[in-house]
Amino acid sequence: MLKDLFRKQKRYITVQPGTAPEHEEEKEPLWIKCPDCGEILYVRELEKGLKVCSKCRYHFRLSAPERIAATVDDNTFQELDGDLKAVDPLSFPAYRSKLSSAEQETGMRDAILTGQGAIEGRPVLIGVLEPNFIMGSMGCIVGEKITRLVERAIKSKLPVILFSASGGARMQEGVFSLMQMAKTSAAIARLHEAGILYVSVLTDPTTGGVLASFATLGDIILAEPGALIGFAGRRVTEQTLKEKLPPDFQTAEFCFNHGLIDLIVPRNEMRQILAQILSLHSERG
């Protein structure tokens, strides 16, 4: 399965050059319109630029495999717990079919990809939420895989990086999904007590129960420019207020201005900043 993911990913990202099977390219669109500035972008160019609009710097969403490829050193990523497959603990209406189509669309078994890799040669445990798998929502498997990653970090003393992109808790798993907020936060608390570095990266979108748990518990919290970051859905908030909200409401910039995150890092600098953070934590002061 991991092989499939990376095959798929290589069609999107040119960080690792050369090996993509040429014949599959025909199925991909050649041009795409930037949803922010309207510029028509050549897909291959867009992918070379880590899916950032060359005109307005709009950051397109990355799939979890794309994010891994854009972040870790070539050929270092080893997936963990890839066998864990989404469950349906409540026998929730239509959930199984929803899971099946998500699996088909993304090639993933739930909304997270975790593993060990290296960034500029420094080993790291990394987890990435998949925004295309039921909106990157957190249910039992997402919570479990994060917890296992953290437990591995406590054992191996390796730092943890989690990239969030999520609509929040996975409604269809009911209180099981809600309790993943407690479970992942408690896991991070144990990681903290063990004195291990945890960097949280908020990408578009990070909301609800994911934001209100592990995503905001990083020693260092980074965010991509323009990312939607907020607890409550914007529509909910507007209804609550019955008034218009500021244009940057619930963006990375809004969060930065309100002191909630450490830094906004453009995608083309993310790898280097992460490497710098890892380096600064690779030896005791």
Partner: protein
Amino acid sequence: MPNVILDFEKPLLELENRIAELKQYAGDKGIDLAAEINILENRLRELKKEIYENLTPWQRTQLARHPERPNALDYFNLLFTDFLPLCGDRCYGDDPALVGGIARFEGVPVTVIGHVKGHNTKENLARNFGMPNPEGFRKALRLVQQAEKFQRPVISLVDTPGAYSGAGAEERGQAWAIANNLFAFSRLKTPIIVIITGEGGSGGALALGVGDVLLMLENSIFSVISPEGCATILWKDSQRAPEAASALKLTASELLSLGLIDGVIPEPLGGAHRDPKGTADNIRAEIRQRLQELRQIDAEQLVAARWSRLRRICGF
């Protein structure tokens, strides 16, 4: 007699009115209707049992949200003595939707925290309908850390539609405040007993919900999303909330079967709002027993066990 009568309670109300009329009539006329009244009262008891033992999840949701259901302050009065409210997050504000302080439970000092819904519109406006802002969660954190310092057990009463979703709440880091509580409560070196007394709404409930024992009142609910919200997302129709309430498995008995909570505290027939004192008696008995158990465990073990409970969720 409550002022707000739910649909499924109406047959009861009619019967109760009939009994009252009959008693009045018997008294006025000096006629002995004891036999007739007795029959009706038996009928009432049976009907109550029938209705309240077969409530649908949606009906329980309505009970859980009943405006006259006792709130945290009511329970503080019923369960504790010497309650001393403590206020403020020492940083921004004091949140009336979330109260706390120190009190005695059967003589023993405890720290108490809880959401407060109003019983009427005026109270609800003052209490923001029991929906805390970040400063409320931060106050709760301050108080439980104080409890840890003084080795006081924490009793947390949960009853909220959810964390407030206003613009100010977002500005001041609503998600950050909730996450910090989950983080800190999970490692707190003092016993925490959580009781969901009404509406256990999502992250705003969970922010007071991490502890050593998680109990629910019989007619309370605990859910990742409101049934209305769920129905809107699933079927674009909030009217189908009753269906969503069933799908979400949000009742105490279902959550107990799923192994997600540790116990259900029975309510007197008719629900907590018809008998706050009786309900408090049941809660008291449960707290007494749980406290006795928890206080025999040392702090390190307690925290380790708290983690194990969370770790096991989903059965891996």
